[in-house]
């Protein structure tokens, strides 16, 4: 143990009230930071997982016509803006696109979807629904549909072309359960009868309240669509590679490709803003704790002026004196961070057991939290930086104190 650390430890433990005050600031700052980040990211991550689990990490949609920009000549009175893309609904040759895209190492699987909006009725209830015509086997490979089923059986859906899977909230709205009949209105005015094979809950309100899955061929006939797929959804090995892959697919297939980050940009920004806002608020708590430590150490320097002069007379250098006060800050930061991390984990666990009845944007019965080691590292780093800054000024002040002035003043 170095002499400054030895002395710092003693100074610190002999001022218990000041130590407790400084320590509690860091402990609560770190703990609250961890807990709030776990909550905000918990909701955000749940949304992302559910969204990707239902809609894929990447979607290839409408074909577009290449712009051939080098060949274009701007009109004299035009402002020279680039011509907009012209899109054509649906996927041209989906099987070929899927065959080629499966060659990419990032692609785990892909599933064609024929999508359309139709009216559904069951008994006396009506609703406008988002019909997803899918290949059951491919869709089960690409999405989390199997895990999302809360009632019924996926095999019943796979083996029966006149069966459907409906979203849980939609089921409640139509008052339709497994085995019940739901009628879908075709564009030509005919009602098609389907049996509910299963109920799915994605956990996202906008999906659960509108979505119906049917067999792709049945959906194609019902919607009277010439194209076999209006989009292809992808499951990726690394979902963070989705933007890069989307850009490549656009160039390669001349179809609009959208990553989940782009698709859910507005919601993700909302979550990010919320996280940032909470992080800033909690960082202020940690800074306040730092300010508390600054005060405590400044008071300590004033209280220990005599001891500093004694140490200097005994041969302790300026940097040794500075180190004594920096060590005090470091010890508070280290102990505060460890205790703060433990308290943060405990608080996070406690919060995750608080029941809430959320049925809007997300579906959950308890607070959603994320267990992420980075929250703990970041909170610790933040505490260390705040405490270092708070300790530096008093430490420097202590180091600069001329011992002779103190000794003369004490005579």
């Amino acid at each position: 143990m170095t002499p400054p650390l030895y002395i710092a430890l003693r100074f610190l433990t002999h001022r218990k009230r000041a130590l407790l005050l400084s320590l509690s600031g860091v402990v609560f700052g770190v703990a609250i930071f961890i807990c709030t980040q776990a909550q905000t990211q918990g909701f955000s991550r749940y949304f992302i997982e559910s969204n990707i689990g239902s809609n894929g990490a990447l979607v290839v949609r409408s074909r577009f016509r290449p712009r051939y920009e080098p060949l274009m000549v701007a009109a004299k009175n035009s402002k020279g803006t680039a011509a907009r893309r012209q899109y054509f609904e649906g996927i041209t040759n989906p099987n070929e696109i899927m065959r080629v895209s499966r060659q990419f190492p990032d692609v785990v699987s892909c599933s064609p979807v024929l999508r359309g909006t139709v009216s559904a009725r069951s008994g006396f209830e009506n609703a406008t629904v988002d019909l997803y015509g899918v290949d059951p086997a491919l869709h089960a490979q690409t999405t989390d549909i199997l895990h999302q089923l809360i009632d019924g059986n996926f095999d019943d859906f796979r083996n029966n072309t006149s069966s459907i899977i409906i979203g849980s909230s939609l089921g409640e709205l139509l008052q339709a359960g497994v085995g019940d009949t739901v009628q879908l209105l075709a564009p030509n005015g005919e009602y098609w009868r389907f049996t509910v094979a299963a109920i799915a809950r994605a956990g996202i309100g906008s999906i659960d309240s509108t979505r119906i899955y049917s067999h792709a061929r049945v959906a194609q006939a019902l919607l009277q669509q010439p194209s076999g797929a209006s989009m292809i959804i992808y499951k990726l090995r690394d979902r963070n590679r989705a933007p890069v892959l989307a850009s490549r697919f656009e160039t390669l297939f001349q179809h609009n490709a959208l990553s989940w980050q782009e698709r859910e940009e507005s919601t993700l920004q909302l979550f990010l803003t919320l996280r940032m806002s909470v992080a800033i608020t909690v960082s202020l708590i940690i800074l306040l704790a730092g300010f508390g430590i600054f005060n405590v150490l400044t008071m300590s320097v004033l209280a220990k002026i005599k001891e500093i002069a004694i140490l200097r007379s005994m041969g302790y250098r300026r940097r040794d004196i500075g180190a004594i006060f920096l060590w005090q800050g470091a010890l508070i930061a280290a102990a505060g961070s460890v205790l703060g991390c433990l308290l943060g984990a405990l608080m996070t666990w406690g919060v995750s057991h608080i029941p809430i009845h959320l049925r809007g944007l997300l579906y959950t019965n308890y607070f959603l939290v994320t267990w992420d080691w980075r929250h703990y590292v970041f909170a610790t780093c933040l505490a260390l930086v705040a405490v270092f800054i708070a300790s530096y000024v008093p430490a420097r002040r202590a180091a600069e104190l001329p011992p002779v002035v103190t000794i003369r003043g004490s005579r």
């Binding site: 030895y6 001891e307 140490l311 007379s313 041969g315 302790y316 250098r317 040794d320």
Partner: protein, 233 residues
């Protein structure tokens, strides 16, 4: 003088304060302290005794002149180097004991040893116990310094000054805060240490009895040494 010079200064000038309050505290002071001798600096308050002690103890720097430890000039050294010299060669004793309140008697004695870093923990404890036994505090090693009496605190300060076996001990009115019995005891202790262990001691004092018992007495007035005489002279 044929004895070896432990500490000396030549033509020391020192000003204190700023502008109108500026005082010429030391005016060309020169002094030599030999090994195994006890020197006293006497004079009225404000004559420059303490200022001289702080400069000789490398706690303060002179505006002119130089300080030498064993014939080596130290005035040009950096702050860190001066701190090292203080740690190794000089032991300080102050009027108000100046012990570290949060530490025990033993720990107070160990603190300079920790800085020097030449002994292991067990060796430092043994040496502290030996020094405290030497000053009659062998039974109060673990007692917090603030729970010791004034006389006991001053004896701990003496033991601490000897912790790194310095060649020179500088004492600024070491008995100024003690009653007669404790004063005599503390001085006797210092005198014995100097003669038995071959140290050099310079003390500033107002106590004529103590001054008369020293080998050399230097009388100061208005920042100058106006008279120096040996006890036997």
């Amino acid at each position: 003088m044929s004895a070896q010079i432990s500490l000396s200064c030549e033509h020391i000038e020192r000003y204190l304060g700023e502008e109108e309050e500026r005082v010429h505290a030391l005016r060309g002071v020169s002094l030599e302290i030999e090994t195994g001798s006890v020197h006293a600096v006497v004079g009225p308050s404000g004559c420059g005794k303490s200022s001289l002690l702080y400069i000789l103890g490398l706690l303060d720097t002179p505006d002119a002149g130089r300080v030498l430890i064993e014939a080596e000039t130290v005035s040009h050294l950096t702050d860190d180097e001066l701190a090292q010299q203080r740690n190794k060669f000089i032991g300080f004793i102050f009027q108000f004991h100046f012990l570290m309140e949060d530490f025990t008697a033993e720990e107070n004695v160990i603190i300079p040893m920790r800085k020097l870093g030449q002994l292991a923990d067990a060796q430092m404890r043994d040496r502290a116990a030996e020094l405290l036994q030497g000053v009659g505090l062998g039974d109060k090693l673990r007692r917090p310094s603030r729970h010791l009496s004034g006389g006991e605190q001053q004896r701990v300060a003496i033991a601490r000054a000897l912790a790194n076996d310095p060649k020179v001990i500088l004492a600024d009115e070491p008995t100024g805060n003690l009653d007669t019995a404790n004063s005599e005891r503390a001085f006797e202790l210092l005198q014995n240490l100097v003669h038995e262990r071959g140290k050099a001691l310079l003390l500033a004092t107002h106590n004529p009895a103590i001054a008369e018992a020293c080998d050399w007495v230097h009388e100061m007035r208005d920042g100058r040494i106006v008279e120096s005489h040996h006890r036997n002279a």
